[in-house]
C-alpha cells in the first residue's frame, strides 16, 4: 500500500477544515486551473482519468458529465449526493468533517463542466453536524470568492444550496433523491429519461457522490496520468474504505484500488477483534453479497469483486467472526430493507416484510424445512424484479448467506434453535 495519500493527505492537519488552512495546503488550485479551461476540456480530463462513481454503481464520471445536453434552453444542475446511508458506510462523513472545501471545489468544477449556476448538496438529515460544517465552509467560500457571482475571477456564477434529508435510505438512489429535493416523497423515477437529460426540475442534471467529487480537484490540477499512477487499469485511483464490526481498529482508510482484503483487514483494521476467526464480510455495504474467509485474498476493486460474485459498492467492509450467527445477521440486514422500502414495488414492499419474519423464525428455532427453499424462492424472485436497486440489496443478503452458509440455516431448522445462542425466544416475540 505504498502510495501518497490523496483524499486523506490533510487529515492530520486540523486547519484544513477552514478555508485559509485548505488554501495553505494547496486547496482550490484545481478550481483556479479549471476556470482557465473550456468546459469540454474539463470533461475530457475527467474521462481520461478513468474516475468511476464512488457511491456504489461505479459509473464513469466523465462520461456522465458528457451526457448533459447544453442546448435545451433550460438551466443545468449539479446535485451532490451526500445521503450516505448504506449500512456500514461512513467515509463521506469523515471526508466532509475534515475537509469540506475539497467537496465544494469539486462541486464548482463539476458545475463549470456542465454550465451549471446552481448546485445542490443533499445531506442526510442525521448528518446534522456535518451539514453545519458544510454551511460554514459555504459561507467562507462565498466570502473568499470561490462561490457566488464571480467564481475564482472567472466572471461566471455558481451558487450552492444545502438541502437536508429526513431519514430515508432510498433517497441515496439518485432519482428518489431528485424527488425528495423537489418536495415529493422519495420514490424512484422511471428511467429513461435519465437525469442527465431530465433530472432536477425536469432539467439536465449531474448527480455525483461526495468521494467522487473530492477526487476531481486533483485530477484537474495534476492530470489524468497522475490519477492513474495508483490503482488498476480498469479501477484507477484510490478508494475510501470503511472497516467495521469485529476488527481491532474500525475506521475510514484510503487504499489503492486493487489492495487485497487481507491487507486491509490486517494492516488497517488491526486484525480480527480479540484474535477471533474471520467468518464472513461484506465488501461494499450490506447491499453487496457477503463473502467468506475463503475470499480473504480478493482484491478490492470493481472487477475482482465482481469476479468473486460480489461488488465494490461503497467499500464498506463489515466483518463477522465465528461467534456471529449468519442467519441473525442476515435477518437484521433484511429488516433494514423492509423498513426502508419506499413501498412502490410489490416484491420489495411485501417480499422484504415476509423475508424478515421468515428469517426471524428460522433464527429463533421456529423454522420449518420448507423455509429454506422458501427463502431461495424469495431471494430469486426479488432480485432484479423491482424498480430500483434497494430490493436487489436485500436479495443479495438472502442469496449470498444461503449460498455460503446453507449448513448454518439447516442446522437452525434441525436443532430448533440458533446453534450459537443459548436462550430461546418465545415464538410470538421471535416473529413479531
Amino acid at each position: 500500500m505504498t502510495f501518497e495519500p490523496r483524499l486523506t493527505r490533510n487529515w492530520s492537519n486540523p486547519d484544513a477544515v477552514g478555508l485559509d488552512g485548505y488554501v495553505a495546503a494547496g486547496g482550490y488550485a484545481g478550481l483556479r486551473k479549471a476556470v482557465t479551461m473550456s468546459d469540454a476540456d474539463i470533461v475530457e480530463v475527467v474521462k481520461a482519468s478513468g474516475l468511476r462513481g464512488r457511491g456504489g454503481a461505479g459509473f464513469p464520471t466523465g462520461m456522465k458529465w458528457g451526457f448533459v445536453p447544453r442546448d435545451t434552453g433550460k438551466p443545468t444542475y449539479v446535485v451532490v449526493n451526500f445521503d450516505e446511508s448504506e449500512p456500514g458506510t461512513c467515509n463521506n462523513r469523515e471526508l466532509v468533517e475534515r475537509e469540506p472545501h475539497r467537496l465544494l471545489e469539486g462541486t464548482v468544477i463539476a458545475a463549470r463542466a456542465i454550465g451549471c449556476e446552481t448546485a445542490f448538496i443533499y445531506v442526510r438529515g442525521e448528518y446534522l453536524w456535518q451539514s453545519i460544517v458544510l454551511e460554514r465552509a459555504i459561507a467562507e467560500a462565498y466570502e473568499g470568492g470561490y462561490l457566488g457571482a464571480d467564481v475564482a475571477g472567472s466572471g461566471t456564477r455558481v451558487d450552492v444550496v444545502l438541502h437536508r434529508g429526513a431519514g430515508a435510505y432510498i433517497c441515496g438512489e439518485e432519482t428518489a433523491l431528485l424527488n425528495s429535493l423537489e418536495g415529493l416523497r422519495g420514490q424512484p423515477r422511471l428511467r429513461p429519461p435519465f437525469p442527465a437529460v431530465e433530472g432536477l426540475y425536469a432539467s439536465p442534471t449531474v448527480i455525483n457522490n461526495v468521494e467522487t467529487l473530492m477526487n476531481v480537484p486533483d485530477i484537474v490540477e495534476r492530470g489524468a496520468d497522475w490519477f492513474r499512477e495508483v490503482g488498476t487499469e480498469k479501477s484507477p485511483g484510490t478508494k475510501m474504505v470503511t472497516i467495521s464490526g469485529k476488527v481491532e481498529q474500525p475506521g475510514n482508510y484510503e487504499i489503492a484500488l486493487g489492495t487485497p482484503f487481507r491487507q486491509v483487514l490486517e494492516e488497517l483494521g488491526g486484525g480480527m477483534l480479540d484474535g477471533a476467526t474471520l467468518k464472513a464480510w461484506t465488501p461494499g455495504g450490506s447491499s453487496t453479497p457477503m463473502l467468506t474467509a475463503a475470499h480473504i485474498d480478493t482484491a478490492l476493486d470493481y472487477e475482482s469483486l465482481s469476479a468473486a460474485g460480489s461488488m465494490l459498492g461503497t467499500a464498506a467492509i463489515m466483518v463477522m467472526d465465528e461467534s456471529d450467527c449468519v442467519v441473525d445477521c442476515a435477518q437484521r440486514m433484511v429488516a433494514f430493507y423492509a423498513h426502508e422500502s419506499c413501498g412502490k414495488c410489490t416484491p420489495c414492499r411485501e417480499g422484504n416484510w415476509w423475508a424478515t419474519r421468515v428469517l426471524a423464525r428460522i433464527e429463533h428455532g421456529y423454522g420449518r424445512e420448507v423455509d429454506i427453499p422458501l427463502m431461495h424462492d424469495v431471494g430469486k424472485n426479488t432480485l432484479f424484479r423491482a424498480f430500483c436497486a434497494l430490493a436487489d440489496g436485500s436479495a443479495s443478503v438472502i442469496n449470498s448467506s444461503l449460498q455460503h452458509f446453507t449448513d448454518e440455516y439447516e442446522e437452525h431448522v434441525r436443532l430448533g434453535r440458533c446453534p450459537l445462542k443459548d436462550a430461546p425466544v418465545a415464538e410470538e416475540v421471535a416473529v413479531s
Binding site: P87, C90, W129, A139, E140, T242, M318, R332
Partner: protein, 197 residues
Amino acid sequence: MAAAPQQAVFAGDALDDARRIIARYPEPHGRSAIMPLLYLAQSIDGMVSQDALREIGVLLGITTAEVEAVATFYSMYRLRPTGEHVVSVCTNLACKLRGAEAVYTTAHEAAGIQQGAERSEDGVFTIHEEECLGVCDHAPAVQVDFCNHDDVTPVRMRELVASLRAGEVPSPSRGPAFASFKAASRALAGLEEVTAS
C-alpha cells in the same frame, strides 16, 4: 361559516423564518422547501401537528394531503407527541456486532419506557431504534437530539439518560450540542446562525 383558518404555527418570527426558507430555492420551485418547513414546524411544536401540515400547504399553494404524504414518508418527522429529548440507537449490523442491542434495551430501562413503547410517561424521552447512522467506525452509535455519541456502552447510555434527566446537555463526540429535540429541529431547518469561521 367558519372563519378563514388562521396561521397559528407559522406566525410572527416563524412566518419570517418560513419565507427565508422558501427563498433558498429557485423560482418557481418553492415546493422544495417542504422538508425544511416541516423541520421548522417541529422546532416550534416538538412534533409536526395537523395545523402545521395545513399551514405549510397554504404557504406553498398545495393541499394538506400533499404535505402529509411527504411528512409521513420520512422517519425524522415526528407526527406524534414526542419527548423533549429523542435518543436514537442504531442497531444495524455494524453496531449490532459491537453490542448495540444491549444499548437499546438499556436505553428503555433507563428512560423508564417499556420495550415496544417509544415515549416515557413524563414526556422527557423518546427512544428510537435507528437504521445505520453512518458512524460505523465508532459503533455502537447513538444520537441524542441528533448529536453523535460514539462507542456507547450500556453504562454510558445510563449516564446519558441520567444527565438529560438532570437537565444537563451531554457533550457530543463531535460538533456542538443541541439542548433539545426542538433546538436540533431548528438547526435541521437550516436556521442555526452560521458564520464563516
